[in-house]
């Protein structure tokens, strides 16, 4: 099904359909990840790939046009050759690959056993993914947050700083639809609570700052869709978003520096409290919060900047 969706994307000319197919593709991948027992990844894929990315692409379509411009350039052979060679090398590489789920595979023999056997004693969390993500390899996660921050910065740079755009006075997009309005009012608090649950329950079940940030962002996006950008910016000011984007990185890195000042290495949460386990717990809560803050801010900011560019209400898709 994944392959079928991908192929139909290539042959489709209607960009709106393509965006929808991308959404389906992401949802299918998410299902695939659940099947592989990677629930955290699946949650992220569903929220980011199927949810927010689709919204952003629709936003872009509203700014440009729905149909792909027909161009009759003779298809170049070079990309095809590159793709074919890459595919062949990939297949060549898989020939000596360990079988899926083989307990003797090097991946399961070397680093992973310690994560599985000792992370509960060393960090005190039942969700191993969170332990690896936020503590063992916390520095990578800090890097990823900076990547997201950089992406937000890029959108700010290219689409202009929010707040100084000349036109903003657009009528609330769909506020006249009574049904939509009521349902949205009812849904948004639930989504926000769900986001908070994902945020703070990440230590025990699947979830964490990335997913929570996306869901939180989605709630604000929904609000913007129904009540219009002007009202949404009254809820969260663009300038505030700019600070919030940076604040998440500062919270995460600041936690690391605090550990450093208390005598440990950078990001060594053991030093945050008298009991190393408590320290780990505080540290992970703090950094996950930092992740959530940055992700939320960047996603909302990207969406605001996209919609701020459009002159027409673009809600016909729904």
């Amino acid at each position: 099904m994944l392959a079928a969706t991908a192929l139909s994307v290539v042959f489709m000319r209607d960009l709106f359909t393509i965006v929808m197919l991308f959404g389906i593709y992401s949802l299918l991948s998410a299902g695939f990840f659940v099947d592989m027992d990677a629930v955290d990844v699946a949650l992220t894929e569903a929220a980011v790939g199927a949810g927010v990315t689709t919204m952003l692409m629709l936003g872009t379509l509203a700014l440009t046009s729905r149909k792909e411009k027909a161009h009759r350039k003779p298809a170049s052979m070079l990309p095809l050759a590159v793709v074919t060679i890459t595919g062949l090398v990939l297949i060549y590489g898989t020939l000596d690959m360990p079988y899926l789920g083989d307990p003797e595979a090097p991946v399961h023999q070397h680093v992973a056993p310690r994560y599985i056997e000792q992370s509960y004693d060393e960090i005190g969390l039942p969700n191993i993914v969170t332990s690896v993500l936020a503590s063992y390899r916390g520095f990578d996660t800090l890097g990823e947050v900076v990547v997201i921050f950089t992406a937000g910065l890029g959108v700010l740079t290219l689409l202009g700083l929010s707040g100084d755009s000349p036109h903003r006075a657009r009528p609330a997009a769909m506020a006249h639809h009574l049904v939509l309005r009521v349902i949205t009012r009812a849904l948004i608090p639930l989504i926000l609570i769900y986001a908070l649950y994902i945020q703070f329950h990440g230590d025990y079940g699947p979830g964490g700052g990335f997913q929570a940030g996306v869901i939180f962002g989605a709630a604000i996006i929904l609000y913007t869709l129904i009540f219009g950008l002007t009202k949404a910016e009254r809820v969260i000011a663009p300038l505030f978003l700019r600070y919030m984007m940076g604040a998440g990185v500062l919270i995460f890195a600041g936690t690391g520096v605090l550990a450093l000042l208390l005598g440990g290495n950078f990001l060594d949460y053991d030093y945050l409290a008298h009991d190393p386990l408590h320290g780990q717990h505080y540290g992970i809560l703090a950094v996950e919060f930092g992740v959530g803050v940055t992700v939320t801010a960047v996603i909302i900011s990207i969406f605001f900047n996209f919609t701020g560019r459009g002159d027409q209400p673009k809600e016909e898709e729904r």
């Binding site: 060549y92 990547v147 984007m245 940076g246």
Partner: protein, 493 residues
């Protein structure tokens, strides 16, 4: 306590200051912050290099988790030297940034520029210092994304296309590196570079490892703009703001070359890279093509920034040629050229920033008569050009000397001849500038151009002066480069 945490602080200080620079919102304030951060990073890298040379490699455990479970920062002579290059160039270019950025970038976007600059610095330092293969990828993403931002801030509308082109190519490169690292992880179960090196030893027949090697090689070659994967580079350098061109030309490709060194020599080991895989001959051929095609195309450029960009493609060829020898002398030449080329291109692009500041353009026509009106700037261009050619008493001569020496050691006298022939091509494109500046007269308004302000001249001359200083007193740079080369080949320390 501070001393033992220096490896972390090297990256964390610029990382923390980037969001602060965004929050400051005033261009000047952000610049002050960025300048202080650059100086701090430079001080740390000098200290790290001294420590490494005195007492051997430093290992630092992020989060207090021992490798391979946690992420390790591992500093040896090779990356300490690259750290010094990146933070040194970052500091000097930043000195010139205030004047140039105030002219080229709109007021409300200046703090964004400095934020992106700091993020790029963070990314480059992070790639260099880390001892973890996946961590390289994470910081590669930071540096790449921020580079796209820096380029897109150029005044020319074509900067956007250039940034987009680079974004596509860079993303393909990064994805290839990620696939390669993934395959290595699949075969070994570890991401730590030293641990990988150990565990890959018995696996040289594994097709997964070989495919991983191929993916990493192609991905890194894209990032360092090895011919024929250089197509993104000329536009990116030509349309970026002057300061961004100077910083990127002097650092970004250098870090990519370092990553290549690290993967080929430390992770896969010289035996695997050069005997199991036919790397030496492929690299040598591509490098020679890069030298000739890059130089030849440079001769026909009218935009001087593009001219220097193509010259960079050629100069990268010299580095790769040194790597392809896989001997101590060859690697010494390559590592030396990392440093020396950073000095040349940094100085030249800063001089171009000065020309742009006064004349509003950098095509060859803008150079007419500058020998009279902007004598100091043009003198800097001439010295930098001589260094590019490889004239004695400049750093360019030192690195080519070692390169020729390395070729002769192996009996490749024809490669030595080709290196010399490549230098002749450089004479032609440098002469184009000299001719315009000194033997043609400016017309109209251009005749009344004044010398560039000191805030641009001084940083340019620091780098140009370094070209001469390190061209005469070579003991420091060659000493470090030789130690680094030996440690990559696993000979001595």
């Amino acid at each position: 306590m501070i001393a033992s945490n220096l490896p972390a602080l090297q990256v964390v200080i610029p990382l923390l200051s980037a969001p602060l620079a965004l929050m400051l919102r005033r261009g000047t304030h952000s610049w002050v912050l960025a300048q202080l951060v650059c100086i701090a990073a430079l001080a740390i890298s000098i200290n790290l290099l001294q420590t490494v040379l005195a007492t051997g490699p430093i290992s630092y455990e992020m989060g207090g988790w021992a490798p391979p479970w946690g992420i390790e920062y591992y500093v040896d002579a090779v990356n300490a030297f690259v750290l010094l290059i990146v933070s040194g160039i970052g500091t000097i270019v930043m000195l010139a940034a205030r004047t140039s950025v105030a002219k080229e970038i709109a007021g409300d976007k200046q703090s964004l520029f400095y934020t992106a600059y700091l993020l790029c610095l963070t990314g480059l330092l992070g790639i260099t210092i880390t001892g973890d293969a996946f961590n390289i990828f994470v910081f590669l993403e930071i540096s790449s994304l921020s580079t796209y931002i820096l380029i897109s801030l150029g005044r020319d509308r074509r900067a956007l296309t250039a940034a987009f082109q680079y974004l596509i190519m860079g993303t393909i490169g990064a994805t290839f590196i990620l696939i390669g690292v993934g395959m290595l992880y699949m075969s070994t179960g570890t991401l730590n570079i030293l641990d990988l090196a150990e565990r890959l030893q018995p696996l040289s027949d594994s097709r997964t490892v070989q495919a991983g090697f191929a993916f990493v090689a192609v991905g890194v070659s894209l990032k360092l703009a090895l011919f024929p994967l250089h197509l993104w580079l000329p536009n990116a350098y030509a349309y970026a703001p002057s300061i961004a061109s100077a910083f990127l030309a002097a650092t970004a490709t250098k870090v990519a070359v370092y990553v290549m060194l690290r993967f080929f020599f430390t992770v896969f080991g010289v035996d695997f890279s050069f005997e199991v895989m036919p790397l030496g001959i492929i690299l040598a051929i591509l490098a020679i093509l890069a030298i000739f095609v890059g130089s030849a195309v440079a001769i026909f450029q009218d935009n001087v920034k593009r001219l220097l960009a193509y010259s960079s493609v050629a100069q990268i060829g010299y580095m790769i040629l040194g790597i392809s020898f896989a001997t101590v002398t060859g690697l010494t030449a390559a590592i030396l050229h990392l440093f020396n080329h950073a000095l040349m291109k940094g100085g030249l692009f800063l001089a171009l920033a000065a020309v742009f500041y006064r004349t509003g353009g950098v095509s060859v026509a803008h150079f007419r008569g500058l020998g009279k009106t902007m004598p100091w700037t043009m003198f800097a261009v001439v010295i930098g050009g001589l260094s590019l050619i490889g004239v004695p008493l400049t750093v360019g001569f030192v690195s080519k000397w070692y390169l020729v020496l390395g070729a002769l050691e192996l009996g490749y006298w024809w490669i030595a001849l080709l290196v010399l022939a490549g230098s002749l091509l450089a004479v032609i494109y440098v002469w184009k500038l000299v001719e315009a500046a000194y033997f043609q007269t400016a017309e109209g308004d251009a005749a009344s151009v004044r010398e560039a302000p000191l805030s641009l001249l001084v940083p340019a001359w620091i780098l140009i002066g370094a070209n001469i200083y390190f061209g005469i007193d070579t003991s420091l740079t060659t000493g470090v480069a030789r130690t680094a080369a030996a440690s990559l080949l696993g000979i001595g320390g």
